[in-house]
Subunit: 213 residues, 2 copies
């Protein structure tokens, strides 16, 4: 669906991009259902007809916005770090990449996570989210089979809890604050992979995420 | 605010309770802003004026619903398990209790987590959520000072990630499914406290959450 996300009618990309930024801001503030094309036009200081010049309506704005988040998340899963090596390392790569996407495309990912499936556009996005979740669950399962992930919780539940943590970042993370996306990704990987509880018998040994000063 | 949550006008509690259940279902489905009192009346099969007999309007329905979730969460923090003993154990008690509240009051907690502060009622709820978060952060800080929580992430970030995981359960958990609230709480505590990664050097030793078969 990457072609849909590109400016298709030969207009400068930044024009569609500003429109998308405004639409996503309005959708996130008012909720997609409650938001109107007037709200989006008002945010941009243009007329509604100027917007209909670019897109067919609110549904197309939603699709473009959701695909931007989803395309970025799927791109992470095809990077070499996500497709070669031990499953646990590929899983860590996907977690770090997802945190990076979340920080870079925060309003778009926020919108994606609020989608409930009320329209065809929303149902398509939910279907793509489910495919992403299956990629993560398969990595957790692989890591469990390789002995790197604890076997007592189960891959589906583990991946739900793991990406529950990642997705919850949209609730409070602000990329312009003190915490860089990389520091955030470190904290997420450390707490989810190694746990928040110290174990004084093991804390002194050199497991990779614990030996960092 | 417990007094507000009680049926105040001498009507049978189950009548206000049905009204609240319907209102919360409508608010969660359509979003609070987009939802109307007509929608709530329609869901109940009564007239709008029948509803105004119970409450002054949509804002009061929202306040009653949010207080139900918040009162239940604060009740957990004053239980003996949350106020005596080592901080790490008190923290675990609050996590388990919050999962239990989330499962028992799922639509109410879901609504609470979507509040963005657009009205006085929502801002009051956000302030109460922040107070709850401070209780959790203080427990994490105490556990860190007692050497039980890893010192390399920081109490505020650790508690945000921890309750990010808990709150994310509203996105997928259904109490009528195969996973009981207790099993869910076990999985949450295991993965967040001990981490998803096995450490074969330590997995054979007896840390409490790992020795369970």
């Amino acid at each position: 669906m990457t072609d849909v996300a590109a400016p298709r009618r030969g207009r400068p990309g930044n024009s569609l991009e500003s429109l998308l930024d405004a639409a996503v801001a309005v959708f996130n503030e008012r909720g997609y259902e409650a938001a109107s094309m007037e709200d989006v036009a008002g945010r941009l200081g243009v007329t509604k007809s100027a917007i209909y010049h670019h897109v067919s309506g609110k549904g197309e704005l939603l699709r473009l916005a959701l695909d931007r988040a989803l395309d970025a998340l799927f791109a992470v899963t095809t990077e070499p770090g996500a497709s070669t090596g031990r499953s646990i390392d590929r899983l860590e790569h996907v977690v770090r990449g997802s945190v990076r996407v979340l920080a870079a495309e925060l309003p778009f990912v926020t919108l994606l996570l609020r989608v409930r499936g009320n329209t065809d556009v929303e149902r398509d996005a939910l279907e793509r989210r489910r495919r992403f979740d299956r990629v993560v669950t398969d990595l957790v399962r692989g890591a469990e089979e390789e002995g790197d992930v604890r076997p007592d919780v189960g891959p589906a539940l583990t991946s739900r809890l793991l990406f529950g943590t990642v997705n919850s970042l949209t609730e409070w993370y602000r990329p312009d604050g003190d915490l860089s996306p990389d520091a955030l990704a470190d904290a997420v990987v450390t707490t989810t992979f190694a746990g928040l509880r110290t174990d004084r018998r093991t804390f002194a040994t050199e497991s990779p995420e614990r030996s960092t000063p």
